[in-house]
Every structure is written in structure tokens, then in C-alpha cells.
């Protein structure tokens, strides 16, 4: 234990001493400066460790001058104070170290003095147990801060310092006034003493006014909307190190005071105030940052928003009606938030210091040139935006689940704000990863420390809180996730990484075999692991294009999906869901033109995840069993989350570019398996939740319509795509629409159809995307009109694509038909006749793009520039072969898949009988019809071979002619380009359906985005930059607070 007074005193003395020393030797002064900071760091750390390890149990009480508490000035350091103190000096040390590496700013000596004063002031604010002493420390901090902000001596920094000073003076005037009046009213200045005396005092309006004045002063310092203009200016104008310390450390000290004020000065309106100001600040700031072009100011908005969330949490934390467990959760959440924000935001500000321009366009592409920068940046951004397993995620999760159900609108507020946060942070991400940027400064040690601390804290939080929240993790999955990260080490050779990944997935399959197949979870587990293993095989790194982090991220996606389907608890499912979403975001972002797509993907993932989280929050229980819920809200929220991943209209707008532009190696997984997680989720949502609500049937009918409309419109739009992967993307989305219909029917037949189609869609769409990857790799473009005639060069790929297309079109005898047959049977049995018609039409329209793929890519004329392409790489060819053979086998023997599906459903009440049975001649027999797959296969293959043999024997000699030997009105074609019909293949059809393919949903989403950001733009204008106005806001808001909360009516 170190006496806290020592920290303050030594720092103060040292500041004084440095002021003199620097005149003689700058170097010694700096050494002394760092010695002081290191001492502070260790001293504060020792105290904090003492509390953590339990060696210190009682709060440390420092009696200055030996006076016992009510009389003298005391420092009172409990666990929270020690923690914040440690945080302050950690950040200060990091900041100072950053300065040191960068080259200490001039004038060194004065800045060192001010810096020490700032840290000790913040520490004093934290430690003190006396109100007037608090005021003094606030002033020390403020004066040091004014000086430091101005010390950069740029126009912006002095301007910011001046504004800070004016508003800060008003704030300290408030605080001083209220402290003195408090003394007048209670006769004491000691916090604890006042706290005990206040209970005996009747709360007259005047008295409340005094307290409110204190709170108003604090709220100014805590940068609530709209009196935070000064803070934003400081963030924008000051030296980033100063900003990092201010935002990371000093504000946290003020926050602690805010908590203390809430605790000691029992203020009746504290809860309401913190809710209004915290929530308001949080919500507004998350949106007004949308169009901000200056990165530092933009980070400032984010800081302000985070603080708002903290203030909101404080309101709940100090609410006496809160149950103990929730209080515990919120406390933990606050700790995590503070930690998260301090380190992530400081890291970001220090990173910003390394970039020359603070404008958004100045950040363009810098992630691509600076791997370490990228790592730190991603970590910080992920942590702030709440991506698992970083502390920001746990903080948000804990907070949300601690908020009582009668305040559930607060959840909405938090989640909407979080969504706004996603939008602008990933816009920065997008900008920073787009194109080729320039090299940035390498002064990254301090932010790197922050990033590593964040990761560590995330893992610790995971360990500490996951079980408390009821989140259960399968230990094998965790092990496999660890392996996934470890694969990163092999990054010096992509081939090794590939092989290593295969080994890890293989090991995963080996370990997971007992779990597979037996029930719904096991069924999907088998799909995930076996399917991923196959698709992983096809990611064989053919070039250096593959990013170093590709395989780790890929494996994280795979195993988080495995964890997801194994989850027996909604929250576990959610955690893995988020992990999967964000890991796939990382993967999508690797596509060279996918930055915008990744941004949109991030936004929609967040929409889905947050809506799902809100749904889970509203559920009466967390386990995956039948849950009784009232009303339609919960299922709606839950299902929205899953529909986003399935890209069901109208939530599909992310899909086109995310599928189209993500790395070719990854798209098969995205379409083949990740979208199936939405299927899994919807299935369990329908099974456990929607099945139990009174409006369940109509809800499912609407879902069925959504699926049908998705299938129809996506198919229609797919017809007009000229980009191979985008076409497949729309097709994929449309196909998942069929699955949704099957799920929505919720009859045994429907679910059989859905699951059959799930597996089948994985096979053929995985195959198609793998083939597309190979083709794009060989041809160098995904633009179909520039291909053509590739059947001559890639026969195997053509064959497998052909089979996949036949399956996709649902034409017997290939397996795709099974899903169609089951689906239509289920639909007609259910009597959803209009949906049947739409679905049928959709699947007819699908033939159009099926032909387009085959024609534009493989048939027609082989183009000049493609005349030397080769067959796809060997591993891809193997995967293609495996997949297309399995399509054929399933086509002949659908029972191979139907039987396991029946076993899966056997355990579910009401689903025991599959709705069909087998007969020898009729094949699969439902209540309505029958379908003999084996017969059809034998019949087709047999008669085909018969016709072929007959033809080959009897017909004339057939001459294989050249490519341009076509009847062309007697002309000799000059080149393949003259003859190839690739572009505008369906322009005639477009005229017929132009009303249906107007991108209405996209326009609506764009409109929403534009409206919100335009509105935010207007709100942003209140920060006029004029200090008079800022001061006026302060006064105005204070008056409003005083008027509404003093109780004077």
C-alpha cells in the first residue's frame, strides 16, 4: 500500500522541481519527469493490486494534518478510486511515452509541469474525500488542461483552449458556489459527513438547487449534449496526447465524482437527469458524427457518446430499486466501459497522431500499407463498437441485461445509438482500408499497448462474466478458436496456413463427431464442420493475394458457427453470432473492392444483431426451450436478426456487394454456410418462440410471404446481373427465400423441405461459388460478357457447374428437385396457394439466370484473351468433383439426406411423422403425390445413354468444326468478339419486368440513411464555434435543469 497523498505530493513537488531543473538540463528534467510518472504508476498500481488481491480490505483513509474525518481534509481511496487512479497514471504514462518517442513538444519543461499537474489533479479529483478540496483539484486539472491544450500553439489549439477555459470557468463557478452553499446548509465539507447529514435535512427547493448546481457543473465537465461544444473543439484542436489523457483519464475522474455525487448527495432527480442527459447525449452524438469529416472531432463525438452511455449507466447503477444482481452487472459494465473507452479511445487518438491529415480523406487506404497500424486500429474500433470478445461487447451486454424490464425503451435507445456508432466507425474503417494509402508514422508503441490491454481485458471479462450471464461455452470450441488464432503464426507461408487450417478443422470434426447428427444442433454442426472443411479445401492459396489474416478469420467464422449451432442458450448463441458476423466482416473487407460492401454488411449485421439482442432481452428465459411470450414484438425482433443473415427482403441490400466483392475464397462459405445460420436461427425461433404466440400462424404466413417475395424479386434481379458473383449472390438470396418459406410452413413436410434445401443449397451454391472462384482466378475478371466458351478450357468445371445449375433450377433427376418437390407439396398441403404460385414463378424465372451463367461463362465463343486459360487449380477441382458427385448421388437417393432429417425432427413434438413415407414403386409418397427419385435417375440416364449410343452408331460422320465456322450469311467472322452474345442478354425481358426490378428497397434504405444523416447534419449546426453561444447553451441548460428539477412548480 502506498499512501495516496504521497502520489499527489511527490508529483506536485516533482512538477515544481522540474520547472527549475529544466532551465539547466532538459534531459535530466525529462528523466525526472518519467521517474515521477513511473513512480505514480507503480504506486497507484500497488494500491489497486492491493484491493484486487484482497490485501487491502478497507478504503484507505488519509488524514491530512492528523485531523479525523469530519474536520480536516481527507483523502478516501477505495477500490474504485484506486482503479481510476491507476488508470489515470497508466494513460498518462502511455501518453508521455508517446511524446517521448515522437519528440517531446516544446516548450518541454512547461509542458512537463502542466502534464504532471494534469495527472495529479485528476488523481486528486479521484482520491479526495472533501468537496472543497475537490474544487481545488478540479481547478488544478482545468488550468493544466487549458495550458496543455493551448500548448500546441496552433490556431486551432489556442481557440479550443480559450473555449474550454470560458466554459470551464462557468462550470467551476457552479461547483464552487454549490460547494459553499452546501457547507452553509450542512456545515460540513467532508463528503461522507455530508452524505450522512443530508439524510436529516429536508430537501427544500433551494437546497435541491444547490445540489443541481453541483451536478450542472459536473455535467458540463462530463460533456453532455448540447453543452459539449468546447470538448469537441478540444478533441479536434489539441495535441492528440493531451486529448488522449483528457478523454482517457481526466474525464473518468470526473465521472467518478459524478458517481459519488449521486451516491452522497441523495438527489431525487438524479436518475431522471442522468437518463435524459446520458441517453440524449449518447443518442445524439452517435448520429451527428455521421457526416463528420474531421477524424479527431469524429472521435470526439464518439467519446462524448460513450460518456453519455456511462452517465446513463450511472443513473441505473445508483437507482436504489435495482436488484442486487443487476447492480452488480451494471457495476461491472461501468468498469468495462471505462476501461474500454480509456484505452481504445486513447489508442485511436494516438493513432490519429501518426497520420498527417486529420481529414477523413487523409486516412484513405492507410490500413493497407501499415499492418501494425491496422491491427491497433481494428482492435480499438472493434472494442469501441462492441465486437466480441473485446471489453466493449461485454460492457454493452452486461448493461443491457442489467436494465430492468420496465425500462426496456432504454435498451432500444442504447441499441439504436450503437447502430449509429457502427455506421460512422465503419465508414472510417471503410475509408481507411480503401485503396492504397501512404505510410504513416511508426510511433505506435503506446497505442499498441492499449490494444493488447483491450484484448486481455476482453478475455478476462469473457472468463469473469460469461458464466454469470448464463453464457456457456463448449470447451472444445474454445480450444478450436484458440487454434484458429494460432494459425496466424504460420502466415509466412499461405500454403502452410492452409494446411494448418485443414488440420484444425479436421481435428474439430474428429472431436465433434459424437455431437453430430443426433438432433437439430448436431445436424447443423455436421453441416458447418464438414461443409467448411470442404470449402476450406477449395481456398487453396493460389497466389499471395490471400491476406495473412485470412485463415485465422476464416477459422474463427467456422468455429463460431459451430459454437452457435451447439448453443443451448440464447445468449451463447448471440455471442457466437456476433463473433461470426464480425469475423466475416473482416473477411469481406479483404476484398479489394469490397470496402463499401463490408461497411453495409457491418451496418446490417448490427441491425440484425441488435434487434436479436433486444429480442433475447425481452425473452422470459434464456434457454433454448419453449418460451411463452406475449405479443408479437419478441419474435419480430428475434426473427429480424436471423433474416438479416438470410438476406431476406427487405433486409437484403447488403448481400449483393458482400457476396459479389468479398474474397473469392470466402464467398462459398458466406453463401453456403453462413447464410444457413440464419436458417438455424429462424428454425429455433419458430420452434421455440413463434410456435407459442397466439398470432403465430399469421406471423408465419407473413414470413412465408417474405420468403416468397424474396425468392421472386431476387431471382428476377439476378437475371440482369452481368457480374458472375453478383448474379450468384442474388440467386443465393432467392434460394434462401425458399428455405424461409419451408420454415414458415412449420409442417413436417415444410421443415423437411427447408432442411433438405439447406443442405442442398450449400452443396450447389458452394460448388458454384468455388467454380466462380476458380474461373475468376483463371480469367481475371468476374464480368461475364468478357468470358464465354470456357467449356473448351475447363471441362470439369463446366460439368460440375452444369450439374449444380440443374440442381439449382430444381430439375429432376439431380438432387435440387427434392427440395422443390417437398416444398410445393408442403405448400399445397398447407393451402398457401398464392405463395405457391409466386414460388413457382420464381423458380421458373430462375431458369433464365441459370442459362445466363452457363451461356455467358462456358458456352458461346471463347474470347481471344481467354484462349490460354487452364482448368481451375487442382484442390478446387477436387472440391468441385466431390460436390457434384454428391449432388448426383443425392439426386438418385434422396433418402440419404431425408432419413437423417427425419431423425432430427423425431425428437420434436408434433414433428415425429415426416409427412411422407417410402414405397417401392412410387418412391417418396406424401399425402398428395409421389416422386420416385431413383426411377427418374435410372430412367433419365438409361434413356439418355440409349439415345446417345443409338445416335453414335447410326448417324453420319460428325466433324468437329472450328470455333468461327458458323453460318454467318456467307461471311467469315473476324474474331470471337463479333459473334459472342454476352452483354445485355435479357434486355428484352427487362422491358417486360421493368416495374418489378426498380430497386425500391435499396432506395428506401438509402433514403433512410440520407434523411438521418441530413437531420443529424442540422443538429450538428448547434455547435456554432462561437464561445458566446457555448456559454449561452451552458446557462440555458442549467436554467432548464434548475427549473424542471428543483420541484418548483
Amino acid at each position: 500500500m502506498v499512501n495516496p497523498i504521497l502520489i499527489i505530493a511527490i508529483t506536485l513537488a516533482s512538477a515544481f522541481f522540474i520547472g527549475i531543473l529544466q532551465v539547466y538540463s532538459k534531459l535530466w528534467a525529462r528523466l525526472f519527469f518519467f521517474l515521477t510518472l513511473v513512480f505514480d504508476f507503480f504506486a497507484a498500481g500497488a494500491n489497486f493490486y492491493g484491493f484486487l488481491s484482497g490485501r487491502i480490505t478497507e478504503p484507505i483513509l488519509v488524514k491530512i494534518g492528523g485531523f479525523p474525518p469530519p474536520i480536516g481534509i481527507n483523502l478516501l481511496v477505495g477500490k474504485p478510486e484506486a482503479a481510476i487512479g491507476f488508470l489515470i497514471f497508466t494513460i498518462a504514462l502511455l501518453g508521455a511515452y508517446h511524446w517521448e518517442r515522437k519528440g517531446f513538444p516544446e516548450p518541454q519543461g512547461k509542458i512537463m509541469v502542466l502534464f504532471l499537474l494534469l495527472s495529479l489533479g485528476a488523481a486528486g479529483i479521484t482520491f479526495t474525500g472533501d468537496f472543497f478540496n475537490l474544487f481545488v483539484f478540479i481547478e488544478i486539472t482545468s488550468i493544466a488542461a487549458y495550458g496543455l491544450v493551448a500548448s500546441a500553439k496552433t490556431e486551432k489549439s489556442v481557440e479550443a483552449a480559450f473555449k474550454y477555459m470560458v466554459v470551464g470557468s462557468i462550470s467551476s463557478t457552479f461547483i464552487l458556489l454549490s460547494v459553499v452553499f452546501l457547507y452553509k446548509a450542512t456545515g460540513s465539507l467532508n463528503m461522507m459527513d455530508i452524505a450522512s447529514r443530508i439524510r436529516n435535512i429536508s430537501l427544500t427547493p433551494i437546497y435541491i438547487l444547490i445540489l443541481l448546481m453541483f451536478l450542472a457543473g459536473l455535467l458540463i465537465e462530463l460533456e453532455v449534449f448540447p453543452i459539449n461544444g468546447w470538448a469537441l473543439d478540444v478533441y479536434q484542436g489539441a495535441d492528440p496526447v493531451v486529448v488522449a489523457v483528457l478523454a482517457g483519464a481526466v474525464v473518468k475522474a470526473f465521472y467518478l465524482v459524478f458517481l459519488k455525487a449521486g451516491t452522497y448527495l441523495t438527489l431525487p432527480s438524479f436518475f431522471t437527469l442522468s437518463l435524459i442527459f446520458g441517453g440524449g447525449t449518447y443518442l445524439v452524438s452517435q448520429f451527428i458524427a455521421w457526416r463528420q469529416k474531421d477524424v479527431k472531432r469524429f472521435l470526439g463525438y464518439s467519446s462524448v457518446a460513450q460518456l453519455g452511455l456511462l452517465i446513463l449507466s450511472a443513473g441505473f447503477f445508483l437507482n436504489p430499486t435495482l436488484p442486487a444482481f443487476s447492480k452488480h452487472l451494471i457495476g461491472a459494465s461501468i468498469v468495462l466501459f471505462i476501461f474500454n473507452h480509456s484505452f481504445a479511445k486513447s489508442s485511436l487518438f494516438l493513432l490519429a497522431d501518426n497520420v498527417k491529415s486529420s481529414q477523413l480523406h487523409g486516412w484513405r487506404g492507410i490500413l493497407n500499407k501499415n499492418p501494425l497500424f491496422k491491427f491497433i486500429f481494428s482492435t480499438s474500433v472493434f472494442s469501441i463498437t462492441g465486437v466480441p470478445p473485446f471489453p466493449g461487447f461485454w460492457a454493452k451486454l452486461l448493461l443491457i441485461f442489467a436494465i430492468p424490464k420496465n425500462c426496456s425503451w432504454v435498451i432500444g435507445l442504447i441499441l439504436v445509438g450503437a447502430l449509429g456508432e457502427i455506421v460512422y466507425y465503419y465508414r472510417l474503417f471503410r475509408e481507411a482500408s480503401e485503396g492504397e494509402g501512404e505510410k504513416v508514422g511508426t510511433n505506435l508503441a503506446a497505442p499498441l499497448t492499449g490494444a493488447i490491454l483491450l484484448i486481455g481485458a476482453g478475455l478476462v471479462a469473457w472468463k469473469m462474466f460469461a458464466t454469470q450471464m448464463g453464457i456457456m461455452f463448449n470447451s472444445t470450441i474454445l480450444l478450436l478458436l484458440a487454434f484458429s488464432i494460432a494459425i496466424y503464426i504460420l502466415g509466412f507461408s499461405r500454403i502452410l496456413q492452409w494446411a494448418g487450417s485443414l488440420a484444425v478443422v479436421g481435428y474439430g470434426i474428429y472431436r465433434m463427431v459424437p455431437e453430430m447428427g443426433a438432433n437439430l444442433h448436431g445436424f447443423f454442426l455436421a453441416l458447418v464442420l464438414v461443409g467448411s472443411a470442404l470449402l476450406l479445401l477449395a481456398t487453396y492459396p493460389t497466389s499471395k493475394r490471400t491476406s495473412w489474416t485470412f485463415y485465422p478469420a476464416y477459422l474463427v467464422v467456422v468455429f463460431s458457427m459451430a459454437g452457435l449451432v451447439l448453443a443451448r442458450n440464447w445468449l451463447t448463441l448471440f455471442v457466437f453470432w456476433e463473433l461470426m458476423s464480425w469475423a466475416s466482416f473482416v473477411l469481406i473487407n479483404m476484398g479489394s473492392r469490397a470496402k463499401k460492401a463490408a461497411w453495409i454488411y457491418a451496418i446490417f449485421s448490427a441491425i440484425g444483431a441488435y434487434s436479436m439482442l433486444a429480442g433475447i432481452y425481452l425473452l422470459p428465459g434464456l434457454s433454448l426451450t419453449h418460451l411463452k411470450v406475449a405479443g408479437i414484438m419478441v419474435p419480430l425482433l428475434l426473427v429480424t436478426g436471423f433474416l438479416v443473415k438470410m438476406a431476406t427482403a427487405p433486409l437484403h441490400v447488403w448481400a449483393r456487394d458482400a457476396y459479389g466483392e468479398s474474397p473469392d475464397e470466402f464467398t462459398p462459405l458466406l453463401s453456403g454456410i453462413i447464410s444457413k445460420m440464419g436458417v438455424f436461427g429462424s428454425l429455433i425461433a419458430i420452434l421455440y418462440v413463434i410456435g407459442n404466440i397466439s398470432s403465430g400462424p399469421s406471423f408465419r404466413y407473413i414470413l412465408g410471404w417474405l420468403g416468397a417475395l424474396t425468392a421472386f424479386f431476387m431471382t428476377l434481379i439476378a437475371v440482369f446481373q452481368d457480374d458472375l458473383k453478383r448474379l450468384l449472390a442474388y440467386s443465393s438470396v432467392g434460394q434462401v427465400g425458399y428455405i424461409l418459406i419451408g420454415l414458415a410452413i412449420a409442417s413436417p413436410l415444410g421443415w423437411n423441405a427447408a432442411l433438405y434445401h439447406t443442405v442442398n443449397h450449400f452443396i450447389f451454391k458452394g460448388l458454384l461459388f468455388v467454380a466462380a472462384a476458380g474461373i475468376i482466378y483463371r480469367v481475371g475478371t468476374s464480368y461475364m460478357p468478357r468470358m464465354g466458351g470456357l467449356i473448351r478450357r475447363m471441362p470439369l468445371t463446366f460439368l460440375s457447374t452444369l450439374v449444380a445449375i440443374i440442381a439449382l433450377a430444381g430439375i429432376p433427376p439431380i438432387s435440387g428437385f427434392a427440395g422443390k418437390w417437398l416444398l410445393y407439396s408442403a405448400l399445397i398441403e398447407k393451402g398457401w396457394i398464392f405463395i405457391t404460385v409466386v414460388t413457382f414463378l420464381a423458380s421458373t424465372v430462375a431458369f433464365l439466370y441459370c442459362f445466363k451463367i452457363l451461356h455467358s461463362v462456358f458456352l458461346g465463343q471463347l474470347q481471344e484473351e481467354n484462349s490460354n486459360v487452364k482448368e481451375v487449380p487442382f484442390p478446387l477441382a477436387i472440391v468441385e468433383a466431390i460436390l457434384f458427385v454428391s449432388l448426383g448421388v443425392l439426386g438418385a437417393f434422396p433418402r440419404l439426406l431425408l432419413d437423417p432429417i427425419n431423425r432430427v425432427f423425431a425428437g420434436i413434438p408434433g414433428m415425429e411423422s415426416p409427412g411422407f413415407h417410402y414405397e417401392k414403386t412410387l418412391g417418396v409418397v406424401s399425402n398428395l403425390g409421389h416422386w420416385n427419385a431413383l426411377f427418374l435417375m435410372v430412367f433419365f440416364v438409361g434413356s439418355f445413354l440409349l439415345a446417345l449410343i443409338f445416335f453414335a452408331i447410326t448417324s453420319a460422320r460428325v466433324k468437329k468444326v472450328g470455333q468461327l465456322d458458323v453460318g454467318y450469311s456467307g461471311e467469315v467472322p473476324k474474331s470471337p468478339e463479333d459473334l459472342h452474345f454476352g452483354y445485355g442478354l435479357y434486355d428484352h425481358f427487362r422491358k417486360a419486368v421493368k416495374w418489378f426490378i426498380y430497386p425500391m428497397v435499396t432506395k428506401i434504405w438509402e433514403g433512410i440513411y440520407e434523411w438521418i444523416s441530413a437531420f443529424a447534419e442540422i443538429v450538428r449546426r448547434i455547435y456554432t464555434g462561437n464561445v458566446n453561444t457555448y456559454a449561452a447553451y451552458v446557462i440555458l441548460i442549467s436554467i432548464i435543469i434548475f427549473y424542471f428539477f428543483t420541484g418548483v412548480k
Binding site: F132, E139, K163, I170, T173, L176, R1021, N1026, V1027, N1028
Partner: protein
Amino acid sequence: MAFFTASILLILIGLYAVLVKRNIMKIVIGLSLMDTGVNLLIVSLGFIRGRTAPIINVKDLLFNTSSKVVDPLPQALVLTAIVIGVAVTAVALSIVMLMYSKKGTLEIDEYKELKW
């Protein structure tokens, strides 16, 4: 009460300057005025009519003088507050100097580079 009113008035005058005046120096003066007003208020709070200054020597301690002097604590506080006020004013003025050296004007409207 007169002290009270006067100090409140001083604070309000200062506030007026901060809110309305366009000249940076006048704003700083306004801040100083507010400071002074607050200090005056604090002193007036500790004042009890009919009592003397709380300067106590050993002799007085014997005669229960605590009932004869005004509340000493606000005076002690105000001392600190004055010091702080001076410091703030000093920093403010140096910032104003910096500002002037940058743009050569004291017009507050010229300092709106940071906004939105």
C-alpha cells in the same frame, strides 16, 4: 443581504459579458467579474452580523471566542478561490495573447474555425 445582492449582481454582470461581448478581453474580464462575485458571495455567506474577524490568538481561545467571530471557513476557502481565480485569469490572458499573436484580432467571431 446587500453583499448577497451585490455579489449576485457581479456574477450576472460577468455572465452578461461572457454571453454577449464580442471582444475576447471583455469576455476574460467577465470571467474575472464572475469570479469576484462568487468570492464576495462566499465571504458574505460566512459573515455573521455583529461579530469580528476570525483572527484568533492564544488569549482569545480561553474566552470562547468562537461565538464572537464570523465563520472562518468561508474566508479560508475564499483565499484559495482567489488564488485560483488569479491563476485562471493569468492562464486566460496568456491564451488571449497567443490568440492575438496568431490572428491579430480580438474579435471572437474570428475564432470559429472549430465548429460542427
